[in-house]
């Protein structure tokens, strides 16, 4: 009897956990793509309404256009080959590491009609470690890894 109670209890807990996991994933899942992968798939795949995490891009030097209060910029990212226009629409103040040539990871949606990426979150690498994070190094690793 006790054994069944125990098994039953465990099942209830496990079911609860599975539910929490599944709904949590649904709430915040984003598809990770690199910039070249996104650009290559644009023609034959619909990204409408899909939450994307976009890596593999750096900010094109001189492309950052801030609004009046230096809050939400428009900028262009590149992987050395493709370029993509980005508009930041999030709330938080962008990290201080966000500047020309910064390596960025964006989260948001691709707007096919305007051909731009609507970013709600911008991560800029990287406060933690300086070495190997320069623009040149990054471009070098990108080039070595091609085709991505």
């Amino acid at each position: 009897m006790k054994k069944y109670q125990f098994i039953f209890g465990s099942l209830v807990i496990a079911a609860g956990l599975v539910y929490l996991f599944a709904s949590g994933v649904q709430q915040s899942a984003a598809m990770h793509l690199t910039l070249p992968a996104l650009m290559e798939q644009l023609g034959h795949r619909d990204f409408q309404g899909k939450r994307l995490q976009l890596g593999g891009g750096t900010v094109v030097a001189g492309s950052i256009k801030w609004d009046e209060y230096h809050h939400r910029p428009d900028f262009t990212i590149t992987d050395g080959e493709h370029q993509l226009q980005v508009r930041y629409t999030g709330n938080t103040v962008l990290p201080d590491t966000f500047k020309d040539k910064a390596i960025v990871v964006l989260e948001g949606h691709y707007k096919a009609d305007q051909q731009l990426f609507d970013a709600q979150v911008v991560f800029a690498k990287c406060p933690s470690k300086y070495e190997g994070q320069s623009y040149d190094d990054h471009m070098k690793t990108l080039n070595e890894k091609q085709p991505l």
């Binding site: 006790k2 109670q5 125990f6 807990i13 609860g16 956990l17 929490l20 996991f21 709904s23 949590g24 994933v25 709430q27 915040s28 899942a29 984003a30 598809m31 990770h32 793509l33 995490q53 890596g55 801030w66 009046e68 209060y69 230096h70 809050h71 709330n91 938080t92 103040v93 990290p95 201080d96 590491t97 500047k99 990871v105 989260e107 991560f123 800029a124 690498k125 990287c126 406060p127 933690s128 470690k129 300086y130 070495e131 190997g132 994070q133 190094d137 690793t141």
Partner: protein, 671 residues
């Protein structure tokens, strides 16, 4: 000079190798001089690594940019404190630092425990030296901190301005002390398995050696949060980033271990489980170190991609395989001495606690590695963000909080319904009215309501324990109440120190709950204008500009008041560092026990008007207060009692005497 560092690194590898070989051979043949040589080799390995570290520090201080690491992680006009912390500011130096801390832990273990745990020590030294060997190997072949540049640059690249913060100088070493230190309890577990000394001696040693790094790691996590809070300017302190998660995961495993060993000590149960936990904790520490350095998950502040990844995979694989095989071969000797008698018992509460902690661990790990798994399974890389972690961990955390209060109310073995009713009366009697009061006060968020009521429940349950203990003591000794309470706390440090840690957890939970009530607002002000945010009034005075050699600062000065009462002047600013061509946003915080008013200067327009972002974060200070109590309470719990100190001294004396009278190694092993 640099060559000395490299050379002593090479010698450290040899010394670690000797420590492994001598200890293993000595223990196998029961040959005391060999065992001693193993210990001495371990001490030498610590000394040699110390020399290496000192050489690298010397190079940093003397700006020897011939060394690539120095050139990449420091420059001439860095303040002294950041020259010190530059040692762990880059991959190669931080790996050396990792190995060095491990060697210091190894030396400390040898010096403190070689008499006490004679049968275990050679294997402990061996296990620690194997880990040490690996890290020195890594430094020599994959991450050489002494590598020279083909030319000597005039100045170094320097340290990222964001990291130029005193908290960033303490936070990483604390994390390292935590992650590295967890090798010691693991080594005791492995030693117990190899030597078949599977009684509770290893548990006692492992417990103390687990408490130390566990405290460091916990403090490190919180300080990292504090840094993010004051420096990163997004109003929060925890973002579920892979790097943060990778150090939270071993802390959770360590917490589970610290709880479940109590069942083994009391009832001789869960022996296998405790071994699994201590092995798991160690492997997760290695895994976390690997995760942050290999680039397999993208993180805002992961290290540069480098070639250390495969080394870690191989080492981790060997560690898991070796430990698992060893554990399997000892399974028959790890049979439980008693069985679970009733589900309504302290044992069940502890078991549930372990389940919950591991559930949390699994959830964090799952979320962190989700991109890797999903890519392997579906070819599509899916990432999950903070909503996932919060959604899963908040309910689990609340159950954990409930257990924190309820666990001690159950008796060992079995609890009668009568005693349950008696024990639960006070805490439940306190929590229910609290819940009603909170409802009346307007708390509508269901999780916040549950969390705060549970906090009251836990505090009441702990107060009840303290009161009962002090009452009983006063009754038997006739001491006045206050004295009885203090004596109780200092005699049973483990138990009551543990309760104090629980109180710290309550404070942390109160702080976490505050996040449910955060408000934020962004607004533009011209000079002289006022804004209203969540009951506060903010008047924008003027802009202040200053400049020195290192940076120029633009600060906005604002007067903060609430209901007509002047609270203070806030000076959020933007600093521009010339050498790095980088700006940092410096937030300004008005802080009280109730809430923080957190103000960011977003930007300034040409006409002098400025845009601000304000967060009102209730109860944040409870997190930092809880962190402080956590450290103090852990220290209280791990500090040896007067009785334990006397026993240890006696034991050392008796070992020495036995060695003298009957020859070395003849004294009975652990008391």
């Amino acid at each position: 000079m640099i060559d000395i560092g490299y050379f002593s690194l090479c010698l450290a590898l040899v010394a670690a190798g000797c420590a492994i070989g001598f200890s293993a051979a000595g223990a196998h043949r029961q040959h005391l001089p060999l065992i001693r040589s193993g210990e001495h080799a371990a001490l030498a390995y610590a000394g040699l690594l110390t020399i290496s570290v000192m050489v690298l520090w010397h190079a940093l201080f003397t700006h020897n940019f011939e060394v690539q690491f120095v050139a990449e992680n420091s420059n001439r006009d860095m303040p002294t404190i950041y020259v010190i912390s530059a040692l762990w500011g880059g991959q190669n130096g931080s790996l050396l630092f990792w190995g060095w801390i491990l060697s210091l832990f190894t030396a400390a273990t040898v010096l403190f425990n070689r008499h006490r745990y004679r049968a275990l020590m050679p294997y402990v030294v061996m296990t620690l030296a194997i880990t040490g060997f690996f890290f020195v190997l890594l430094n020599l072949f994959a991450a050489d901190p002494f590598k020279k540049m083909p030319f000597v640059p005039a100045d170094g690249r320097g340290l990222n301005p964001l990291l130029q913060h005193p908290l960033m100088a303490i936070h990483p070493p604390l994390l390292y002390l935590g992650m590295v230190g967890m090798s010691v309890p693991f080594a005791f577990g492995i030693a117990a398995l190899i030597s078949r000394q599977l009684d509770s001696a290893w548990l006692l040693a492992a417990r103390r050696w687990m408490l130390i790094p566990w405290t460091f790691l916990g403090a490190g996590l919180l300080l990292g949060g504090k840094w993010a809070y004051v420096e990163l300017g997004w109003g929060g302190y925890w973002g579920w980033d892979p790097v943060e998660n990778s150090s939270l995961i071993p802390w959770l495993a360590g917490t589970a271990f610290l709880h479940s060993i109590m069942i083994q000590e009391r009832r001789g149960m869960l022996k296998v489980w405790n071994m699994v936990l201590v092995i798991l904790t160690y492997c997760l520490c290695i895994f976390g170190t690997f995760l942050t350095r290999s680039g397999i998950v993208s993180s805002v502040h992961a290290f540069a991609q480098s070639n250390v990844g495969p080394f870690f995979v191989v080492f981790l694989g060997l560690a898991i395989l070796g430990s698992a095989l060893l554990l399997l071969s000892r399974l028959p000797e790890l049979r439980a001495e008693s069985r679970l008698e009733s589900f309504i018992s302290r044992e069940t509460a502890f078991l549930l606690n372990n389940w919950i902690l591991l559930g949390m661990l699994f959830a964090v790990m799952w979320g962190t590695l989700f991109p890797v798994f999903s890519e392997a399974l579906t070819d599509e890389k899916i990432t999950v963000g903070p909503p996932f972690f919060n959604q899963v961990n908040v309910p689990i955390g609340l159950v954990l909080l409930l257990l924190t209060g309820a666990g001690p109310l159950f008796a060992w073995r079995r609890t009668s319904t009568e005693s349950l009713r008696r024990n639960f009366a006070v805490p439940v009697g306190a929590a229910l009215p609290a819940a009603v009061l909170l409802l009346i006060a307007g708390v509508r968020d269901i999780y916040a309501l549950i969390s705060l009521s549970l906090c009251v429940f836990v505090v009441a349950s702990i107060a009840l324990e303290f009161h009962r203990g002090a009452g009983a003591r006063r009754h038997s000794t006739g001491e006045p109440y206050g004295q009885a309470l203090f004596r109780l706390l200092s005699k049973s440090r483990r138990r009551y120190g543990g309760y104090l840690v629980h109180l710290a957890m309550v404070m942390l939970f109160i702080g976490f709950t505050g996040q449910a009530f955060t408000t934020d607002k962004e607004f533009v002000l011209h000079q002289g204008e006022t804004a209203h945010v969540a009951g506060y009034t903010l008047q924008y005075g003027d802009l202040v500009q200053t400049q020195d050699a290192n940076m120029s600062v633009v600060a906005a000065s604002l007067e903060l008041s609430r209901q007509g009462e002047f609270l203070g002047t806030l000076l959020p600013s933007r600093n521009f560092y010339q050498t790095h061509e980088q700006a940092t946003t410096e937030v300004s915080i008005y802080s009280s026990l109730r809430e923080d008013f957190y103000l960011i200067l977003v930007g300034i327009s040409d006409d002098g008007s400025a845009k601000f972002q304000a967060y009102v974060n209730p109860l944040v200070n409870w997190v930092w207060g809880g962190g402080l109590l956590f450290v103090l309470a852990s220290l209280w719990a791990m500090w040896p009692t007067a009785r334990e100190r006397r026993l240890a001294a006696l034991e050392r004396a008796s070992v020495r005497q036995a060695d003298f009278l009957f020859g070395p190694g003849t004294a009975p092993t652990h008391a």
